[in-house]
């Protein structure tokens, strides 16, 4: 089970005559493996989010391929690609992370409802556990538009975990969180990796390195792997 990108490129035009082309992602190769936490670090605007969106089947690359177990996901019809996103990818997007008009509980169960799995045995318990673990159990019936940035972040992390996906793709999962919650979230992500999930974290937060197995650096659309990283952890955080 592996998710990999092969020389993917994404470019945009900065003027209406489509002449001034710039590369958001320029020939990126990355492989996500089960049990490993991959981290992409880089400055804002370096193309991290674009790469993650291409990896999760949200943004068609202009060049290159994204392969899931050797199969090009962009060759799949929309229905199958969406099914992949629902069942095998757990996304923690940045920005628009929750539907504002739904309650926390409704937001959490939304991807499962798309699969008709919202009433499955164990879902209720798992939801309660995760809500309690991230300290937002009392917000279950609150509308998403009434949540703070940090609360929204935690809800979207729980939502991604509820679907028990093969790959967790998190875009800045620790933004808007206080120190205690950063630690909680990172522990949770590490635990998920230990349970056999492939985890990709995009961040510019140095604390994320504490759970990192494979480190990548993104600069002006170009991805490079830090070969000398070798899975060293800055902090010895273990799953609680």
């Amino acid at each position: 089970m592996r998710l990999e990108s092969r020389s993917v490129q994404k470019w945009y035009f900065r003027n209406r005559f489509q002449s001034n082309r710039f590369f958001a992602v320029h020939g990126a190769d990355i492989t996500l493996l089960p049990g490993r936490v991959s981290v992409i670090m880089g400055r804002s605007g370096s193309g991290k989010t674009t790469l993650m969106q291409m990896l999760s089947g949200l943004l068609t690359p202009d060049e290159g391929k994204v392969l899931l177990e050797g199969e090009d996901i962009y060759a799949l019809p929309d229905e199958k690609l969406c099914a992949l996103r629902r069942t095998r990818f757990g996304m923690i997007p940045q920005g628009a992370d929750l539907l504002p008009q739904l309650t926390v509980k409704e937001n959490l169960l939304l991807p499962l409802a798309m699969e008709g799995r919202e009433k499955e045995e164990g879902v209720f318990k798992m939801t309660r556990d995760l809500l309690e673990r991230l300290g937002i159990a009392d917000l279950e019936d609150v509308l998403a538009r009434e949540l703070s940035g940090g609360e929204r972040r935690r809800v979207s992390i729980i939502r991604a975990l509820l679907g028990t996906p093969d790959f967790l793709l998190a875009d800045e999962p620790t933004s808007d969180l206080d120190e205690e919650n950063v630690s909680l979230v990172l522990t949770l992500l590490k635990k998920e990796a230990r349970e056999g999930r492939g985890v990709l974290v995009i961040s510019h937060d140095q604390e994320v390195l504490s759970i990192c197995d494979d480190l990548y650096q993104m600069e002006a659309g170009t991805l490079t792997q830090k070969e000398d990283w070798g899975g060293r952890s800055l902090l010895n955080i273990t799953a609680r």
Partner: protein, 399 residues
């Protein structure tokens, strides 16, 4: 969390946006339903007028200023009376090509039971009448006895009550079905009752005599022309054979009404079209703006695994629910204006006006509802298509 409930939740929890869309669609269905009911009522009124007239030629006294006064009585229920000698009935029957002729006598009352109002009283001869009698029979009214009257639908007296006309007490024996014409505002009696009423009016100083020695008068003669005869020629013959009377072809009266109706219908249909066009444009813009505002929301749904088809379905379902409720609201509001104020509308238009049967109204309502929903679908289709085509990643970035 049931996914089917998502459109409903979206609408319920954004009441301002939902209300705006509902009101916009309500304007559409209001104009379509209200306008169509008015136009249909006018058409039905014309049909009823044609059916009610039942005669080819009407002979009225020259003093009735030709057809104008008569037309006012017939169409608008204006109260008035004019007389000519009954001899004209005999003379009309003598004209070649006349199949049958029936006389009516008009009397304008001064005061009825409750308020100071004037009622048009029309005396008919049940033996010879072929204009009012079929209508009386259709409405289930039995024969007109002496001092019995049958009232039009707009006269607020019920069967069994008594109407006082020139101090004479008349028993209300029946109520007629609506015709949408001025005949709805009249009271009908037989000739013997009419004679008594004319004498009572005479006693009050209101004379109906054409000359001092002629007490037997009529107000209008309805003529049916024999098959195969030219109505125009018969009309001219009657004109020449009768005294101090004018013969009017009913077709010219219907043509007048018909052309007025056509003009009004055009204006109303034009207005419906303009309102519909504007409403559609506004709906289109509203959906486009809402889609833009909710770009990130839809992008998130795609991120979570919603297919393009499901996304389009969601937008369509929301549009459907908004437009359906807007359609009902518009039809409801139109009902509140069109039905209670039908008399006022009829009076303002001065044309025969007969509200369609319930089945017809149901079909119009269904059509208006369908048109509103279709407008909603059509105006939201572009927004739905655009959103579903865009890469979710790009939508997230743009949002």
């Amino acid at each position: 969390m049931n996914l089917k409930k998502l459109p409903l939740l979206n609408l319920k929890r954004n009441p301002g946006r939902t209300l705006a869309l509902v009101l916009l669609t309500a304007v559409l269905s209001f104009s379509i339903f209200g306008g169509t009911v008015v136009v249909s009522s006018l058409r039905r009124g014309l049909g009823s007028l044609t059916e009610r007239l039942g005669a080819d030629i009407i002979v009225v006294p020259s003093q009735a200023q030709s057809k104008v006064s008569f037309q006012d009585i017939f169409l608008q229920g204006t109260v008035g009376a004019f007389y000519m000698s009954r001899e004209n009935l005999t003379r009309t029957l003598e004209v070649e090509g006349v199949e049958k002729a029936a006389a009516q006598v008009f009397l304008a009352s001064l005061k009825a039971d409750c308020c100071s109002i004037r009622i048009q009283v029309i005396g008919i001869d049940p033996e010879t009448d072929f204009v009012i009698r079929p209508w009386l029979e259709k409405s289930g009214s039995r024969g007109l006895k002496d001092m019995d009257v049958v009232v039009g639908t707009k006269v607020g007296a019920e069967v069994g009550e008594t109407l006082r006309i020139y101090e004479e007490r008349c028993h209300v024996a029946g109520k007629l079905a609506p015709t949408g014409t001025g005949l709805d505002s009249a009271v009908y009696c037989n000739m013997s009752t009419m004679k008594k009423l004319l004498s009572a009016a005479e006693a009050k100083g209101i004379s109906h005599k054409v000359s001092s020695d002629d007490e037997d008068v009529v107000s209008a003669i309805y003529v049916k022309v024999k098959e195969g005869y030219d109505i125009g020629k018969v009309n001219s013959a009657i004109q020449g054979h009768t005294r101090k009377a004018s013969a009017i072809r009913t077709r010219s009266m219907i043509t007048d009404v018909s052309s007025s109706l056509l003009a009004i219908s055009r204006v109303i249909l034009g207005l419906i079209g303009a309102i519909w066009g504007m409403g559609f444009l506004l709906l289109f813009l509203a959906f486009a703006m809402i889609a833009r505002e909710r770009q990130q929301e839809f992008a998130l749904l795609r991120v979570l695994g919603s297919t393009k088809k499901a996304l389009k379905g969601l937008i369509r379902k929301e549009a459907f629910l908004c437009c359906l409720s807007g359609g009902f609201v518009g039809i409801g509001l139109a009902c509140l204006l069109v039905f209670p104020f039908q008399t006022l509308i009829e009076m303002s238009l001065s044309l025969p006006y007969l509200i369609p049967e319930p089945s017809g109204l149901f079909l119009i309502a269904l059509g208006a509802l369908g048109a509103s929903v279709a407008s909603g679908f059509a105006s939201s289709a572009f927004a739905a298509w655009r959103l579903s085509q865009a890469d979710p990643g790009r939508l997230l970035r743009q949002g």
